[in-house]
Subunit: 373 residues, 2 copies
Amino acid sequence: MNALLARARRVRRTPFTEGVERAGVTAWSVYNRMLLPAVFESPEADYRHLKDHVQVWDVSCERQVELRGPDSARLMQMLTPRDLRGMLPGQCYYVPMVDETGGMLNDPVAVKLAEDRWWISLADSDLLLWVKGIANGYRLDVLVDEPDVSPLAVQGPKADELMARVFGEDIRNVRFFRFGWFTFQGRDLVIARSGYSKQGGFEIYVAGGDIGMPLWDALMEAGADLQVRAGCPNLIERVESGLLSYGNDMTRANTPHECGLGRFCNTQTAIGCIGRDALLRVAMEGPVRQIRPIAIGGAPVPVCDRLWPLMAGAQTVGHVSSTAWSPDFGTNVAIGMVRMTHWDPGTELTVAAPDGPRPAVVRDRFWNDHGSR
Amino acid sequence: MNALLARARRVRRTPFTEGVERAGVTAWSVYNRMLLPAVFESPEADYRHLKDHVQVWDVSCERQVELRGPDSARLMQMLTPRDLRGMLPGQCYYVPMVDETGGMLNDPVAVKLAEDRWWISLADSDLLLWVKGIANGYRLDVLVDEPDVSPLAVQGPKADELMARVFGEDIRNVRFFRFGWFTFQGRDLVIARSGYSKQGGFEIYVAGGDIGMPLWDALMEAGADLQVRAGCPNLIERVESGLLSYGNDMTRANTPHECGLGRFCNTQTAIGCIGRDALLRVAMEGPVRQIRPIAIGGAPVPVCDRLWPLMAGAQTVGHVSSTAWSPDFGTNVAIGMVRMTHWDPGTELTVAAPDGPRPAVVRDRFWNDHGSR
C-alpha cells in the first residue's frame, strides 16, 4: 500500500539529501536510521539508465564504524570469521560479521586505513553498538565511533570517465576492492573501486559533510554530456546480480554459509572470532539451506515485503526474500533460501506469492554474473 | 519533500500491519527497522480524535530485548544509572540506557517479569546488539534475544472503557507503570498502564504474532460505539506533552541529565552501571545544557527534519529538535536543548527555521503537563 514517508530528525538527512530532493526522488527507504533514495523516475527507468550511463548515489546510510588504537586489528578479527591477517592497508574486504552463535549481524565492507585504523562500512544494522559492547566487555584499547564520513557512489559503465574528470586519470588505476587517496577541494578522500551494483564504479568516502553538496554538484557538472543522473541502489539490478541485502535476504537467524558467504570465512584460522566455535561444524559440513537464484514465472511480481514460501507440493522447502521483474532477462528474478533437498539447479518449485502461487525454478547462477565482490 | 516509502522485507511488517493498511494509513515512519504508522487522516484530525476518543496503535516497533537467566538483574543494572534494586516484578520503569561515556543509547521502558526475566521495551536503536555485546564481553550467564512480542497501545480518554470490554473490569485496577496478566483467546498477555501519550491508556505486549489481527479486530469491534479508530503516536500531542523521542530530541551525544532525565538517575547507588564513572560529575554538578519546552511564534511551522539553531543575537545557544502547530494551544510547540545561560523560563530567543527566523520563548513547562512516566 502506497503511503508517504513521514519526515523527522530521527530519520537522518545526509550531506547529499538536498541534491537527492532536487533530482526529484519519488520514493525513499530508511537504512541505518538515515534517508536512502529508492526510486527517482521508476525502478525500470532508473535501471536502464544505470546500465547505460553513470549515476551518483547517496549511500551515506552505509555508515562507518571507525576503530582506532592498538587493539583495532584484534577487535576486527573478533567480529568476523574471515581471516584478516593478510589484509594490507589500501585493501577493502567484504566481511561477514557474526555473533557468538554464528548468526549474521551485518555484511559490511572493511576498509583498512592503517594497522591501527579501520572503517567498517555498514549494511543495515546498528553494528556500532555491538562493536562498542565487545570493546567495553573485553576491555580493549580501542576507540570505537561513527565518524562524519558519508559514502557517495558513482556507478555505471561511464563511471571511470566521470571520476577521471573530477579526480584525475590516476583513478582509473584503482583496482577492484582497493582504494586510494584523492583530493577534492583540498581534502583527502578515500576512494574505492566498489559499490552495490555490477555495473562498475567507485565509492567515495566523503569525510566532512560540508563538502557533500560541492562534490555532488561537481560530479553532475562534469558528467552532463555523459548523461549523469542521481540514482540509487536499484532493486532489479541488484537481484539480477545476486547482491544480497542484510535484513532482506539474511538476518541474525542465518549463518554466513547459508548466505553463500562460506568463501569469505576462514573459520579454522580466524582465531579470536567470537562466532568461531559456533561456526566450525557448519564450516566443515556445510549448511542445510542456502541462498539460491530463483526464476519466478508469470507476469511481473508485486513488491516482496515479507518472505514468500517456496513449496515442493505441500512441503515448505524455503522462501523468497527479494524479487523484481527484469526487463533485460524477461523474467521475474529472485533471491531465495532453499533447503538442500531442493536446491539443485533446475529444481521446479512453487512460490506462494501474495497474488497466488507461481512456478519457480532454482538456477545455477545469478543473471549479471561477472565476478563477485 | 513528499515521497513514498519504498517497501521491502528489511522494513519489517508487524502482526498488525494488515489492520493499519485497512484503516488507510497515509504516512509511515520506520522505527527499529519496522513499519510505524505516522498519519492516518491528518496529524490534526488524528490528534483531535486521540484527545476525544480512543485509538489502537501499532507500536510493534517498540521491540523487546528479553533477558533471562541468573545474571539478568546484574546485566540490567550495568545498562542504566537508575537504581533497580527496589524494583518488583509487575513494575515498569522508564530507564535511561547509557554507554561508557554516559551517552544515551536508548530510553526504553524496563518490564520486570520475574527476578530472572526482564523485557526492555525499546525506543529507536538496536540496543539488542549493545546488550548482547556486553553480555558476551563480561561472560554473563544470561540469554539475550528479541522475542515475538509486539506492543499494541490503546490510548485516549475512553481507553479504560474499551479495555474493560475486551479484558474484563479488573483492567481498571492496573496502576500507572504497573502491569498485570490478562487473557485473550486463551493466551496470557502482559498489559501495562503506559503509553506514548498523555491521554491515558495501556500497552498490550502481544506475545505471538498469530493473535495480532484477532486482537486488533476484537478491539475495533468492541469499541465501535466509542468511535475507536486506528491511530499512532501523534507528533502534536507528544510535543505538547514533552514526551521525548530518541533520535529526535536526544542521541548518543547527550547525557540523561541534559535530557532532563536526572530524576531517573541514581548515579551514586547504581553500582555496576557501565556509564557510572562518566556520569558521577554531571550528576553532582548538573548539565550545562538541557531540554526545555519552547514556544515558537508565527504561522504553523514546517516539519522539523533537522536541528534548527536557537540564537541569542548572533550567538547559537541551543537548537530545536521537534516542532508542531498545536490547535489546542494556538501556538507552535517545540522541544529544544538550551544552554544554561539562556534556559530560564521567559528567555526570548530566535529560532532559525528553514523558512526564516522566528521568535521563540523558553517555557517553564510543557503544555499537557499532568504527571510524567
